[in-house]
């Protein structure tokens, strides 16, 4: 990591350390922990969407596989949570490989279709395979995660742990972007023909990034399972996959920080909306749950229309132009004085 990114990373670490001191309410801390799970999945998805130029509408399925592998192996077979998480990782690597090879050999957005189908299949299996997954009633008694024999009992501990994993994920993502492979991916983005003419195996690169992004999603699912200690099919429908894609798109496809900001923004939005509903009710306006969809849609529309490169680029870009125009006007006044 270099320059602005390492400064951003430092800011993130300080933010992580400071937040539990500012947010003392357990409920809101819990919301922020969920934001960490989404962030982790979105960082992986951003590598796939922004850097390999492929869309997955099935990352919720990889989150589900991570969560269910962890849930089944720990609650039913009493495995160590860490080993169960590792099994989830290996499983999604194999699945992503099998799914990615045929879909990514073809040009265009076949991966989006394949993953969309895959997400529906996983959701159906999770609901229907009652013996394995507990069906609609889910899996209970998933243990908490321990760190070197020290069980992460409080929300504050889990907050630090899960956001620590997010920081690690960001570190990994930036390493990849600034490596030989990252340059290869950017090259593919610039011109597939030129990249191939330099010996880059385009299919292999895309499949590898797809596999890595599935690992991020799986870890996020495992952490989710160990935090709520109970999983059911509810949160793992296709809608969740679409939400993850939306988070990345809202934040900014081509930037890891954008994905992080998009994930945090859309994870916290429901809380703001419930604030809003209380406020409106005080004025005698009844807030309908349907309004959520309306507000989500409007926000997405506004961002796509006015900040097509995402919130992150939008904010940093306008800040940059403010700074440069201030500099310019300062330069002008300085020139006049001379």
């Amino acid at each position: 990591m270099k320059g602005k990114n390492s400064a951003g990373f430092l800011a993130l670490i300080i933010g992580i350390i400071a937040t539990p001191f500012l947010v003392t309410n357990d409920y809101y801390l819990g919301v922020l922990i969920f934001a960490a799970f989404n962030s982790l999945a979105c960082i992986g998805l951003c590598l796939l969407m922004g850097y390999a130029g492929q869309i997955s509408i099935g990352h919720g399925a990889f989150v589900a596989i991570g969560a269910y592998t962890s849930g089944i192996l720990t609650a039913k077979l009493a495995w160590s949570p860490w080993l169960a998480m590792l099994c989830g990782i290996l499983l999604v690597i194999v699945i992503a490989f099998c799914l990615g090879i045929p879909a990514l050999r073809l040009k265009g957005h076949y991966l989006a279709m394949a993953t969309l189908g895959f997400a529906s299949i996983v959701h159906i299996v999770v609901v229907a395979a009652v013996d394995l997954t507990g069906g609609p009633s889910g899996i209970v008694n998933i243990p908490r995660l321990d760190l070197f024999g020290y069980v992460l009992n409080s929300d504050r501990q889990y907050f630090y742990f899960s956001w620590g994993v997010v920081a690690l994920g960001i570190y990994i993502a930036f390493n990849l972007i600034n490596s030989r492979m990252g340059r290869g991916l950017q090259a593919i983005h610039g011109s597939e023909d030129a990249a191939a003419s330099l010996g880059i195996n385009i299919t292999s690169y895309k499949v590898q990034v797809f596999m890595l992004s599935a690992v991020f999603a799986s870890v996020s699912g495992s952490l989710y399972a160990y935090y709520v200690n109970y999983i059911d099919p509810g949160p793992f429908d296709v809608g969740h996959s679409v939400l993850l894609v939306t988070m990345v798109a809202v934040g900014g496809l081509h930037n890891i920080w954008g994905a992080l900001i998009g994930a945090i923004f859309l994870s916290l939005l429901p809380e703001f909306l419930s604030f809003l509903s209380e406020y409106l009710e005080a004025f005698g306006i009844e807030y309908q749950p349907d309004f959520d969809t309306l507000i989500y849609g409007s926000i997405l529309l506004i961002i796509m229309l006015f900040l097509p490169e995402g919130i992150f680029k939008g904010i940093t870009g306008s800040m940059g132009s403010v700074v440069s125009s201030v500099k310019k006007s300062l330069g002008r006044t300085a020139g006049r004085e001379q």
């Binding site: 990994i172 993502a173 390493n175 990849l176 600034n178 490596s179 030989r180 492979m181 990252g182 340059r183 290869g184 950017q186 090259a187 983005h189 610039g190 011109s191 023909d193 030129a194 990249a195 191939a196 003419s197 330099l198 010996g199 880059i200 195996n201 385009i202 590898q208 990034v209 890595l212």
Partner: protein
């Protein structure tokens, strides 16, 4: 010709009903600059795409240093030592000039996804080597002062130089240049000619498609003339200039 590095044997490519390359046989001699010339649409770029695996031949075969290239993917063909540039420059516009060339070192480095993402300190040595090799190319092509500019901001002449630098970073044995002088002014064209001479001196075989006849006749050891996908003449530049078929093809009758 026993000293040939690239052999095209009865090569044919049909696009639907259009015959782009028609049963063409041609041997490219090692260590020489060979030019493919011919009117627009004669099939020159298609030959480049066939050699580099971007399109598959309808029939016939291509041998590079004794190996058959048929059915090989472009990235595999690059890995056995064939570099190329494109008629409409294909640089990576958002990456810096330096990074563009570093991509060219892809096949000369090995870091995979695991070490790249999780343990980058172990790759410091390799990264340094990639950088040094790229810097060498930058200096060779005279692009050093632009190293950190985005490649897309360079003028066309420099973009063409950059594309060649990137292909040279591969350390190819055969370099295919598709109209390297098109869009260049007179001075840039002379510089391009000098560069191709230098590449030849590095013991890299050059296959050139070019419309600038002065440049072609100046730097080529051997010229092959193609019209309607067929080879109509081949020989040293002086002979080609006198050839009646060639004059007819270019000027019409």
């Amino acid at each position: 010709m026993s000293n040939s590095i690239l052999e095209l044997e009865m090569l044919r490519k049909n696009f639907g009903g259009v015959v782009a390359v028609s049963d063409l046989s041609l041997h490219i001699e090692k260590g020489c600059v060979t030019s493919l010339i011919g009117p627009n649409g004669a099939g020159k770029t298609t030959i480049f795409n066939l050699v580099t695996g971007f399109v598959e031949p309808s029939s016939g075969q291509i041998k590079f240093a004794g190996r058959r290239l048929t059915k090989m993917k472009p990235h595999t063909i690059a890995s056995i030592g064939i570099g190329r540039t494109f008629q409409n420059v294909q640089i990576f516009p958002k990456m810096s000039v330096m990074e563009n060339i570093m991509v060219g070192r892809h096949l000369r480095s090995r870091a995979g996804i695991f070490y790249s993402s999780v343990l980058p300190p172990f790759l410091r040595k390799e990264e340094k080597k990639i950088q040094e090799a790229a810097e060498k190319q930058l200096h060779f092509l005279g692009l050093a002062q632009h190293a950190h500019l985005p490649a897309g901001s360079l003028p066309l002449g420099n973009q063409r130089m950059l594309e060649i630098a990137r292909a040279l970073a591969l350390e190819p044995r055969l370099l295919l240049l598709d109209e390297p002088a098109s869009g260049l002014n007179a001075r840039e064209t002379i510089a391009m000619g000098e560069l191709i001479e230098k590449i030849k001196q590095m013991n890299i075989t050059v296959l050139l498609v070019e419309h600038d006849m002065e440049l072609v006749m100046d730097i080529s050891d051997y010229v092959a003339v193609i019209n309607f996908g067929r080879l109509i003449a081949e020989g040293p530049p002086a002979e080609i200039q006198e050839n009646r078929d060639v004059i007819t093809a270019y000027l019409g009758e």
